[in-house]
Symmetry: C2
Subunit: 505 residues, 2 copies
């Protein structure tokens, strides 16, 4: 068999596995958005079957044989060719996937199902002890998972690698520590003058149908089209792509609060634009997704915050918003609205946090995760540790576990090492933004005219189109000119923005 034939065979195998992955995405989208409740039991089986088949097909000996045989061929190809990238990435995924025995994988999956259900009840009852044994089991399984891999500098590195390839706990700390040192005082500086900004105009009657129409009019300017996108309501907003031309985003509307849907839709649209911008030649390959969770989040945050909470964008959108909700906004001027959507207020819940305080919610979780995995924090003491750190970083008192340690679903699902990618993403968004601004210095003027196409094209050309061909660092270099994740631009952006809004002088 020639290398060409072998590559064709590998590509066909990986294409079928990609199809299975995408079909799982549809199963989960449908489950959250469309499925009648009665379908839950069968749906769980369908998802499990497809995941099992995808895993079996991928880890089959034939995949390894093809990868082995193709290694000399790949070495001759340009490293940035689709073919060499496919072989390189598939090799890495294969080696990781083969390390975890089927029984451990099955136990992790079973435990996640049980722990997720237990978490739902425990959160409802604000009862951390009820969740504790499931968390313990989850962490124990994570330790067994870590043992499947070559030793790393810190055990946590293995977990992080699943979400942000190549990044270590030390790398993250090196980014987060100086970030924290600069943000905590900035938040403290805002506190005494908090009353300079009110978000009163965002609360009140905002009929859901008009929210939807207005939000659609915004994201249509970002790139949403009926030909390739859907927008549907759900309890927990998310984005999923079934192909580069079938992007689905969801949101949650509050009839008495404008912000969640408005900025949530921009956020999910940012994720969707990344998926939509991947080079179509990568379709049906494992390269056809974002390079990492952090880079994905950089795109959602960029559209939500750097674009969506900018004075320039609202110079264009605000008159239409006022016409949509005249009862609420007729007497509210643009500057008041702009400040309202950027109001800073240390709070208990991560997903409701403002742009300035959000990072500390994440850093707190990152620190606790390392201690849980490292063993220095007994799990029974987790709520106290959580509450103490909330007080230290954000100055807030946590009243109960539901509003504290039990608020997020991640740990119940076994997602340990996921949280840091949120703030890594925010930080990279400012690096990428700086780079885009260098090429497109009049972005603000464009936004004020309702023009967002140049930015979208720039992001596609410098980031989106590469998909997962390169490592996250290499990909960042293409978009931001550096492989180094650097909080500098993000801190500078936050400082300038909130000094201005809160007149900190």
């Amino acid at each position: 068999m020639s290398s060409h034939d072998r590559l064709a065979e590998l590509t066909a195998r990986l294409a079928a596995i990609h199809d299975l992955d995408k079909v799982v995405s549809l199963l989960l989208w449908d489950q959250d958005v469309m499925m009648p409740r009665g379908g839950a039991a069968a749906r769980a089986e369908q998802v499990a079957t497809l995941r099992r088949l995808a895993h079996e097909q991928f880890t089959a000996p034939e995949t390894g044989r093809l990868l082995d045989e193709l290694a000399p061929y790949a070495a001759q190809l340009p490293a940035d060719s689709n073919e060499a990238s496919l072989i390189r990435v598939a090799r890495r995924d294969f080696d990781k996937a083969r390390r975890v025995p089927a029984d451990l994988r099955a136990e992790m999956s079973r435990t996640a199902s049980l722990a997720r259900a237990a978490w739902v009840d425990a959160r409802a009852a604000s009862d951390f002890p009820a969740f504790l044994p499931f968390l313990q089991k989850t962490i124990d399984l994570k330790r067994r998972y870590i043992e499947c891999f070559e030793p790393t500098a810190e055990p946590y590195d293995v977990l992080l690698d699943d979400f942000e390839e190549g990044m270590t706990a030390a790398d993250v700390r090196a980014v987060f520590e100086p970030f924290k040192q600069q943000i905590v005082p900035l938040i403290a500086a805002v506190a005494p003058v908090a009353d300079r900004v009110s978000d009163g105009c965002l609360h009140g009657a905002f009929p859901v149908d008009r929210q939807r129409e207005f939000c659609l009019s915004v994201v249509r300017r970002f790139g949403f089209t009926d030909e390739q996108w859907r927008l549907d309501p759900t309890v927990h907003p998310f984005e999923t792509s079934l192909s580069v031309a079938d992007i689905r985003i969801t949101t949650r509307y509050y009839p008495d609060f404008l912000s969640p849907a408005l900025f949530g839709i921009m956020h999910e649209c940012g994720h969707g634009l990344y998926e939509q911008g991947i080079d179509p030649s990568l379709e049906r390959t494992p390269l056809c997704r974002g390079a990492s969770l952090g880079l994905h989040e950089s795109q959602s945050r960029l559209w939500e915050n750097l674009v969506g909470r900018s004075r320039a964008a609202w110079t264009f959108f605000y008159p239409a918003l006022q016409r949509t909700f005249p009862d609420r906004l007729d007497g509210v001027d643009l500057e008041t609205f702009y400040r309202a959507i950027n109001k800073v207020e240390p709070s208990l819940i991560r997903v409701e946090a403002d742009e300035l305080t959000y990072g500390l919610h994440v850093i707190l979780r990152f620190e606790l995760e390392q201690e849980m995995i490292g063993g220095s924090l007994p799990l029974a003491e987790l709520p106290d540790a959580w509450n103490a750190r909330m007080k230290a970083y954000l100055g807030v008192d946590v009243p109960d576990a539901a509003k504290g340690v039990l608020q997020d679903v991640h740990w119940s699902l076994g997602f340990v090492g996921y949280f840091p990618t949120y703030t890594i993403g925010s930080i990279m968004s400012a690096q990428i933004w700086q780079s885009a601004l260098a090429d497109l210095p009049d972005l603000s003027e464009q936004f004020a005219r309702g023009e967002f196409l140049a930015l979208r094209h720039w992001l596609r050309d410098h980031l989106h189109r590469y998909g997962r061909k390169f490592t996250p660092r290499e990909t960042l270099e293409k978009a931001a000119g550096t492989t180094a994740i650097d909080a500098g631009p993000y801190v500078a952006y936050l400082r300038a923005k909130f000094h201005d809004i809160y007149e900190l002088g």
Copy 2:
């Protein structure tokens, strides 16, 4: 390995294949109901991949080995046990699936894709010659398919068996011939007095949102619940089930004509009730579906016609319908409405045909299919043969191919042998109805009070719960007390109903 272990292994294999089949159903539902147009290319790949995997998994040598080894065990089990039924039905499916070589299967699949696209264009242009080469290829492939099987009395029998297991062309003719002999004169008798019934009250402004609400109020009484069902709009109505507790029906609303959505939804609800009524112990097995297309259609027709077009049901529903559409129906009495929904009018299009003439549309197709497969009808002469038979049976002149031979999608998809099941279903619906009436003599009084539960439970107990455990004939025997498909009750029902409505004396 014990028989118990072997059965567990077979059951697990078949469960995974069932999952794949159901996921394909979701992919197709989503494609028609939800998917943005841009998703079409990837969706075709996803469907093809899942179908290929399901076929590979099912026809793998392990399946055959397990079935061989389990044969002595199955022989000791009660024939009507779930276990014996599973082994028996899986054996039959396996033997059929193994007979068709992969390359023929692939060619049929490819041809169906191309022929379907060609049919869409040909129908739009009313251009039969443009479709002819695709039809020729389809029929040629059907002949090759037939050759994969043991010789049957007539080649067409092989095709029929895929849709109505165990039924032969001779069986169908023995049912259809006397039926035709009795229906043609009945239609002719109505023609001179056609003006005794007008369906004018069904045309006019029927706002779609109110149609939806009213139709839902009807099928909720039949068994539709938000917990286990969905109703969505589509161009081509259908029913699909993703589990016995996740049933999805679709419909097409006409803003100026009430009948299509109203009776279409009842029809699809009938299909859904069959799927929903299957014993939950059969979930995730190949027994978890209707016993045949004919029996499925017996249920949709029963709810659409024997229930949904009955005077008794409208005695209950009509006041609410009048309140829903007062502008259209305030001056229309129940009897006028009842006659309107049962108006007989020979027409060109099968899917728009009334209850009395529908069967002849089917018989015409059944006759032409046999001649096409047998070779006695050159395909180029098909339009003339079609038009001549439309004139003979229904007295109508076919103006063009779009309204004639090109109206249905079935042949382009390679569905030859499918049409007869529609009328087999109508005929069985009257046999089953007769049997239900013997047990529940006051059904009409129940309907007039808005009560449909006793009928649904009777159908579940006598038909639905068995799923595909038994052959269609055996299943019919459980529901109707006979293995013989007999048009007698259906003809008697039609004669009584239309003698009454048209006052034929």
